[in-house]
């Protein structure tokens, strides 16, 4: 959707084809966190930082409200070793414009009532934001339409062919659409779409579990709680680490798991246990809360964990914006902006080299 938004703004005509409605994909199912502050500052953090500027610009102006909130997040530290690592990271970040602050255990307890007294402290990432993905998708759709962009919902792309004149013919069963440019933004389906044109793009589903609790207004947490540790293997079940946040309605969302390439949406009880078990280490009061829903979503993970953004090195006119894994919300606007510049003006900004499809698909 972001790709179409920047393309129509650049004056091009677009058609978004989706097998469902705007909420059909992972974007309609995931959380809306924009994570700028990270343990490993790098390309993803840079995409997130730039995307945040775009989100802010959109939120301030034409798009209307999508509940963009600069509420920050707490990276929770369990051990003294983690605390030391965190202090070193903050020292290295000094002067780089990222606002991270170290909190002692006492300061954390004051900021987030209910956290475990056993924690060593936390890093507060002031720039981290959240938005309401549904409102954002709706706002994008309206803006794209206002600029003349079209939509074909509930149409599944089943075949793509090239005409002798170099146009793509996209067949959905309900319609046939011709265009000189096709962008593969099919999320976890990016691979089958690319294969319609004979390219093998390495995007595979990475399943995540989220546990939703009943509404607990008395336990509303002021900012997302995140685990300093990476997802690591639980005794049984899939690798998990902790993310806890309050929704606007007052439910808590407790995550999260990272499974290899599991493409079924089924819920694994051992994984849910591992998620809850770990979350209790940070927020013991969760013990008293009731779970109303457990759902899974599929993150579109690329072969090396970085998104795939840019022109195909083989098929002229084919572009990719996929493989964003667990960071698609954090990096969507900058992905759209970069790719639309490439398509509309033929200009590749330097950072795009790192995301080039050619690292996987070579002529």
């Amino acid at each position: 959707m972001c790709v179409a938004y920047y393309l129509v703004k650049a004056g091009l005509r677009t058609l978004n084809i989706d097998q469902g409605y705007i909420t059909a994909g992972t974007s309609g199912a995931g959380n809306g966190n924009i994570i700028v502050g990270n343990r490993q500052p790098g390309l993803l953090a840079e995409l997130a930082r730039r995307s945040l500027l775009e989100y802010e610009r959109m939120g301030n102006g034409e798009m209307g409200d999508f509940e963009l909130e600069r509420n920050g997040s707490y990276l929770l530290l369990e051990t003294e070793a983690q605390a030391e690592e965190a202090r070193q990271l903050i020292a290295r970040q000094e002067g780089r414009g990222l606002s991270l602050a170290y909190l002692s255990a006492g300061e954390l307890a004051e900021a987030v009532p209910g956290v475990s007294a056993k924690l060593a402290g936390a890093v507060y990432c002031r720039d981290d934001c959240s938005l309401n993905p549904l409102l954002f998708l709706r706002a994008l759709r309206r803006r794209i339409q206002d600029h003349g962009g079209g939509f074909a919902f509930y149409e599944k792309v089943g075949k793509i062919q090239r005409t002798p004149s170099g146009l793509f013919c996209v067949y959905t069963g309900a319609g046939t659409y011709r265009s000189p440019v096709v962008v593969d933004c099919a999320g976890v389906q990016a691979r089958p779409i690319a294969s319609l044109l004979g390219e093998q793009v390495p995007v595979a589903p990475n399943k995540g579990h989220i546990v939703v609790t009943e509404k607990v207004p008395h336990l509303r947490i002021p900012a997302k709680l995140r685990d300093w540790a990476d997802a690591s293997d639980s005794q049984e079940g899939e690798p998990v680490n902790t993310v806890i946040e309050s929704t606007a309605a007052g439910n808590l969302l407790i995550g999260k798991s990272e499974a290899g390439t599991e493409s079924s949406a089924s819920v694994s009880l051992p994984t849910v246990r591992a998620i809850l078990d770990r979350a209790l280490r940070f927020l013991p009061c969760l013990r008293e809360v009731k779970v109303i829903r457990i759902y899974t979503g599929l993150r579109p993970r690329s072969g090396d964990g970085l998104p795939i953004i840019g022109a195909s090195a083989i098929t002229a006119g084919l572009y990719y914006a996929c493989g964003h894994g667990g960071d698609g919300v954090s990096s969507a606007p900058e992905t759209g902006r970069l790719l639309s510049r490439r398509i509309a003006e033929g200009r590749s900004e330097r950072i795009m080299r790192e995301f080039a499809p050619a690292r996987f698909i070579k002529p």
Binding site: G20, Y21, T23, A265, L276, K290, V291, I294
Partner: protein, 91 residues
């Protein structure tokens, strides 16, 4: 009765007017209506409102294939304590 006073989902307090707006906007399956309006996301997880949503969508748009008529089933069947999940014996 006024469609903005008629509540379709009691748990999440979603009115008929909101559901109709989601359909008018383009949603043509029950899961999309759920994601757009929160109808079906409440404590009963759609036990009460799911068939209403389906009925409204049929009345507005005609016949529906099964894939569009039902909410994706999500566990648990009814609310369960965190501690009960942790203590449950794996069968």
């Amino acid at each position: 009765m006024d469609s903005d006073k008629l509540v379709v989902c009691r748990c999440e307090d979603v009115t008929l007017a909101e559901v109709l707006a989601a359909i008018r906007e383009g949603a043509r399956d029950v899961n999309s209506i759920k994601r757009l309006t929160r109808a079906g996301m409440g404590l009963c997880q759609g036990c009460i409102c799911e068939s209403l949503l389906e009925g409204i969508l049929r009345a507005e748009c005609g016949a529906l294939p099964a894939a569009k008529a039902f909410l994706t089933a999500r566990p648990p069947l009814s609310p369960i304590g965190v501690i009960d999940i942790l203590n449950a014996k794996t069968s």
